[in-house]
């Protein structure tokens, strides 16, 4: 039986975090590991995880540390992390992919697009 794939959410808008949780857990394939509301918190939380998340959803515009900086630091800690940017800031797309994000999803995205991208990039640790 395949395990649930785990997802860590980094997003400063609490309504969006709530929405993402509902959508992600709606089809029974994924579990949300937790959420951080800024880059700084994200890095601290990550360091405390027992297991690496299968996918990290990364917002860009956040207080304290933005998505790009956070991604750079997280990838330094573990270069195999799969980080999917979810941001309205399309100007940051090239940079995000350059520094090692696996994908970039434009905001606002429909529920369908959202799940499609997650399906694409969330990978089991065993794979």
């Amino acid at each position: 039986m395949s395990e649930l794939k785990t997802i860590f959410i980094v997003e400063d808008d609490p309504d969006l975090v709530e929405l993402y949780k509902i959508i992600i857990e709606s089809n029974g394939k994924y579990a949300v590991l937790g959420a951080a509301t800024n880059g700084q918190e994200a890095i601290e939380r990550y360091k405390g995880f027992n297991e690496k998340p299968d996918l990290i959803l990364m917002d860009h515009r956040m207080p304290l540390k933005d998505g790009i900086e956070t991604t750079i630091e997280l990838l330094k800690l573990d270069s195999n992390l799969r980080i999917l940017f979810v941001s309205a800031d399309v100007s940051v797309r090239e940079k995000a992919l350059e520094i090692g994000a696996v994908g970039f999803l434009d905001k606002p995205a429909s529920m369908k697009e959202f799940l499609k991208e997650i399906e694409k990039y969330a990978e089991n640790k065993s794979q």
């Binding site: 709606s26 515009r61 309205a88 399309v90 100007s91 434009d106 606002p108 429909s110 529920m111």
Partner: protein, 363 residues
């Protein structure tokens, strides 16, 4: 009625006679006057206060007029000064200009002339302040729209999707789809405002772009974003030949917007669009011309140029700024965009949007 605040002038000169004369003249003109007889005293004053204009003699005991202006600029980035001096030299003139000195007047001066220059200097300062304030406000509004409002839109879109899956009646489903359609336009508008701002902020860096590849991607995107309609898009181009245009990464927005409009403005559930790429020469220059033909409701002759304007508002579903973005981008590439009737003389049978972009030397 509240009395209008007087404009403030600081005069710095070591000749007491000059100070008294200038004070009298300027107070009569309605200015609020402060005086200082030496550079050090003046610097103390400008560290604590801002002035609409500073009048300073070049030669002063302690620090000279130019140094006073230097200090004033540290406290007030808009500090504007007029240097008055009996000693003219090119070096000091250049020094004056460097240190935020708006003007440079030689003694003996004409009162009328000096008053004019003072007035002009103050106007310049006011305009500069206004421009910066407007820029700050524009940034704020843009930020609010593209981040905060956009996030809220995402929340709405997300819950609408969940609502649709929660088992609705036919009627409820219809209403939700109406909301989705409007949200889609809202998101597009926000996206376009954002792009326009980005484009304006950076110098165009044109490079060779694979036209066919960009078109294929835009065609795919438009199909997936309009699942409520059956969209058929025929794409005709010369196979086996690479077609490079001189553009940048924003060029896909040109085609996405036109294709999106083509779908939106076709009222039937079945949409047919024809996309063709051809060679095009104008005034000896070589272009690739992309024609996007639809069977939608067309564009009346009177509107054929106006639709590309920023403030154009369609009767139905207008102003997403899409075509304005298209025109802005095409101008950037030194290309051309125009619309013609699919059936000549009858705009109701659909339109052909033509986009000509210069060929890259890479071809």
């Amino acid at each position: 009625m509240k009395e209008k605040e007087k404009d403030k002038i600081l005069i710095v000169d070591d000749a007491p006679g000059f100070l008294i004369t200038m004070r009298t003249i300027l107070e009569r003109e309605g200015y609020d006057v402060t005086t200082a007889e030496d550079g050090l005293k003046a610097i103390e004053i400008v560290k604590k206060h801002e002035f609409d204009l500073i009048l300073a003699d070049l030669k002063l005991p302690g620090k000279d007029g130019i140094e006073v202006m230097k200090e004033a600029s540290k406290n007030d980035p808009f500090a504007t000064g007029i240097i008055i001096t009996a000693y003219a030299s090119l070096d000091t003139a250049i020094g004056a200009i460097r240190e935020n000195c708006y003007d440079y007047v030689q003694k003996p001066y004409q009162v009328k002339d000096l008053l004019q220059r003072i007035k002009k200097g103050m106007e310049k300062r006011k305009l500069e302040k206004e421009v910066v304030a407007l820029k700050v406000q524009a940034e704020f509004l843009n930020d609010l729209m593209s981040h905060d409002i956009n996030n809220m839109n995402q929340t709405i879109v997300g819950y609408l999707g969940l609502l649709l899956k929660s088992g609705l009646t036919e009627e409820q489903r219809e209403y939700v789809e109406e909301v989705q359609s409007t949200m889609s336009r809202s998101s597009k508008l926000i996206g376009n405002v954002r792009k326009l701002r980005q484009i304006r902020g950076i110098e165009p860096e044109l490079k060779a772009v694979d036209l066919v590849s960009v078109l294929k991607k835009s065609i795919e995107e438009v199909k997936t974003s309009h699942e409520e309609k059956e969209v058929t898009i025929k794409f005709g181009y010369e196979k086996g030949k690479k077609q490079y245009i001189l553009a940048d990464s924003f060029v896909s927005d040109v085609f996405s917007n036109i294709l999106d409009n083509a779908v939106r403005f076709t009222s039937s559930a079945e949409v047919e669009i024809d996309v063709r790429v051809e060679d095009y020469i104008k005034n000896g220059d070589e272009f690739f011309k992309v024609s996007i033909e639809d069977r939608g409701r067309g564009v009346q002759d009177e509107a054929k140029e106006a639709i590309f304007n920023r403030f154009f508002k369609e009767e139905q579903k207008g102003s997403g700024l899409g075509l304005y973005l298209v025109k802005t981008l095409i101008n950037r590439y030194s290309g051309e965009v125009w619309v013609e009737d699919r059936v000549k003389g009858d705009y109701t049978q659909g339109s052909i949007f033509n986009v000509a972009i210069p060929k890259s030397k890479l071809n």
